[in-house]
């Protein structure tokens, strides 16, 4: 029998950072403190998950602008709407599952229908916890994409999060941010001049053999996969689509059309149903752009509990698995 110890769930502290990857601690909390220093309308509200969404940093810096609303996500959204009506900019935090599943109606009518300036921050988006379906927000984007007026932001790393907080403050209207919390990897530093802009997709890497269109932490994986494949002689482009809605259709179409023979992979930390993949697919279909198209995302299932690295391998979103998927299709294409 193998003596290899089984991986542990490692629970709430599960990090998506690789072993020697540079990280920033609680980028959201620190960025919000900085933004709040320049704008006294900003308030922070949470549903008993301040510590777990990095909002505790803000609470410490601005205790009188912090509202602990209790574990009551529906109330959180209604109260956020109320604050916004009175002219404040509430950043309301909970986990993505509870924002999207439990509080949907309250976000939809109390916030989005009136286009109120509430920033909804969801922790543990997609598959970023091993707790099983109660905490894995595998379909949060699918749920929210159908909601008119709501902007959906899926940042890749700490750099994206830092910049997106200020961008969300400058933007007037409801936004849903898929938060990465705790020790968050820094990867976008490497791309000189990179700037997060709401509604804009950014080319990070150019490559003629394949294109990955990605959002969230899958952009980090896409970059790693592209680096690995480069060593094997394949040039894989990466287009980072940090805003999922509204989709930057112009940039996506331009990029895809620039090399019409490249297979397109859409990589997302989300179900293959209703997320970025299907958004891009429908765009290409509507515009009559015919390319080889593949989705890298989570299956349409309730996922297992377990350790995150195990689950990312199992469901095909680890770097290793992304490389495998691309090699399957690109090899065919090249030969």
């Amino acid at each position: 029998m193998s003596a290899k110890k089984k991986l542990k769930t490692s629970a709430m502290i599960a990090s998506i950072a690789g072993e020697d990857q540079p990280t920033t601690s609680a980028p959201f909390g620190h960025a919000l403190v900085e933004a709040a220093g320049k704008n006294d309308k900003i308030v922070g509200m949470t549903a008993d998950l301040g510590k777990y969404t990095d909002l505790h940093i803000f609470a410490k810096a601005y205790p009188d602008r912090y509202y602990q609303m209790g574990m009551a996500e529906q109330l959180l959204m209604m109260a956020g709407a109320g604050m916004a009506r009175e002219g404040f900019i509430p950043f309301v935090t909970t986990y993505s599952v509870f924002a999207s599943r439990r509080a949907y109606d309250f976000i939809c009518l109390a916030i989005a229908e009136e286009n109120l300036n509430v920033k909804i921050v969801g922790g543990l988006p997609g598959l970023t916890t091993g707790y099983g379906p109660s905490h894995q927000a595998t379909e949060d984007v699918a749920i929210f994409r159908g909601m008119p007026n709501l902007t959906i932001v899926d940042p890749c790393d700490a750099v994206d999060i830092e910049q997106s907080v200020q961008a969300m403050v400058d933007f007037n209207g409801p936004v849903y941010l898929r938060l990465l919390r705790g020790k968050v990897p820094r990867v976008l530093d490497r791309f000189e001049g990179y700037k997060f802009e709401i509604g804009k997709a950014k080319q990070l890497i150019d490559g003629k053999d394949a294109l990955i269109i990605s959002s969230g932490l899958m952009t980090m994986r896409a970059i790693e996969a592209s680096d690995e494949l480069k060593e094997k002689g394949k040039e894989v482009g990466v287009l980072h689509c940090a805003t999922i809605k509204p989709l930057d259709t112009q940039t996506i179409l331009e990029e895809v059309r620039r090399h019409p023979d490249r297979p397109v992979f859409v990589a997302e930390n989300h179900s293959v149903v209703g997320g970025l993949g299907e958004s891009v697919a429908s765009l290409l279909m509507k515009e009559g752009v015919a390319v080889k198209f593949y989705q890298i995302g989570l299956p349409d299932e309730f996922l297992d509990a377990g350790a995150l690295p195990t689950l990312h391998d199992r469901y095909g979103i680890s770097t290793k698995e992304v490389v495998k998927t691309i090699e399957q299709h690109v090899a065919v294409n090249v030969n």
């Binding site: 769930t9 008993d48 574990m71 379906p133």
Partner: protein, 290 residues
């Protein structure tokens, strides 16, 4: 009370005390596997689980799906470690599973789910579901003319959720005398003490005002818990029953009782053996003695 009744009560309490010790021991051993987690909650609720599983509940350990069983719903998925400990002690789950707690492909995931574990009735974790499911099951049992009962263990944090209070109102409306809610008031939630996060006191008055037969006890006083369960179950009122249990996180392990209270605790590697030793000392038991 007659002398024999007193003696029999004393032996019941003594037997439950051993069960509570074993539940705490199993929970500590699971905690050690992950090195962290919801051990404080498990130690706090162990006495209530001992009374539930070894006095109040009608179950068949060999057949966890026995139609005539009482149903015990754990809405607080993170308390799974506590329920696993009770289910192990009851013989529903094998003790061998302890070493895999929370590990890949274990039948004991960190958050309790029905599909993984025998004896786990519902998938918890999205807090505030349990009591509403309990209302439906209690209605269903009545419809089947079943004499089985529904128990739902909920946390003080779950009192924050509107869905809980929808169920509280509904259970009274439907006169669900086959529904027993147990509330663990450990004065702890994720961010802070419950009283700081969202104060729900006076908790008992609220349940009473909603139409429930209400009991409030020290949840770490076995005799008091036993009496509350006995009274709640013997009562012939047509109201649903709630037993509000004030508990101390970490109970039974003095250094954890004294430690800063926290929803999710970390215990150093070398502290686990100390914890087991302290537990033995508190009970005056040699490890492993049943």
């Amino acid at each position: 009370m007659s002398q024999t009744a007193t003696a029999s009560k004393a032996s019941t309490v003594e037997a439950l005390r051993k069960r509570a010790y074993n539940i705490r021991r199993h929970a500590l051993r699971m905690g050690e596997v992950q090195g962290q987690g919801y051990v404080g909650q498990a130690l706090g609720i162990a006495d209530v689980l001992a009374v539930s599983y070894f006095h109040a509940l009608k179950i068949d350990p060999k057949n966890p799906e026995w139609e005539e069983r009482d149903r015990f719903l754990l809405s607080i998925g993170h308390y799974a470690i506590a329920l696993y400990a009770a289910l192990i002690e009851a013989g529903v789950i094998s003790e061998d599973e302890i070493e895999d707690y929370g590990s890949d492909d274990s039948i004991l995931p960190m958050s309790g789910m029905a599909a993984y574990t025998p004896g786990m009735e519902i998938t918890g974790g999205s807090l505030g579901h349990g009591l509403g499911i309990g209302v439906g099951m209690a209605l269903g049992l009545k419809r089947k003319q079943s004499t089985s009962r529904i128990f739902n263990l909920l946390s003080d944090g779950e009192l924050n959720e509107g869905s809980t209070w929808e169920a509280v109102a509904s259970a009274a409306h439907w006169k669900l005398d086959n529904l027993i809610a147990i509330v663990d008031v450990n004065d702890q939630q994720a961010d802070d003490k419950s009283s700081m996060v969202l104060n729900y006191e006076p908790i008992a008055d609220k349940w009473t005002a909603f139409g429930w037969e209400t009991y409030r006890v020290d949840g770490n006083d076995l005799e008091a818990v036993l009496e509350a369960f006995d009274n709640a179950l013997a009562s012939n009122s047509d109201k649903p029953r709630v037993i509000i249990c004030d508990t101390l996180m970490g109970r039974g392990v003095p250094f954890l009782e004294k430690r800063d209270k926290n929803h999710f605790i970390r215990v150093d590697e070398n502290e686990w053996s100390v914890a087991l030793k302290e537990l033995d000392d508190v009970y005056g038991i040699q490890s492993g003695e049943k």
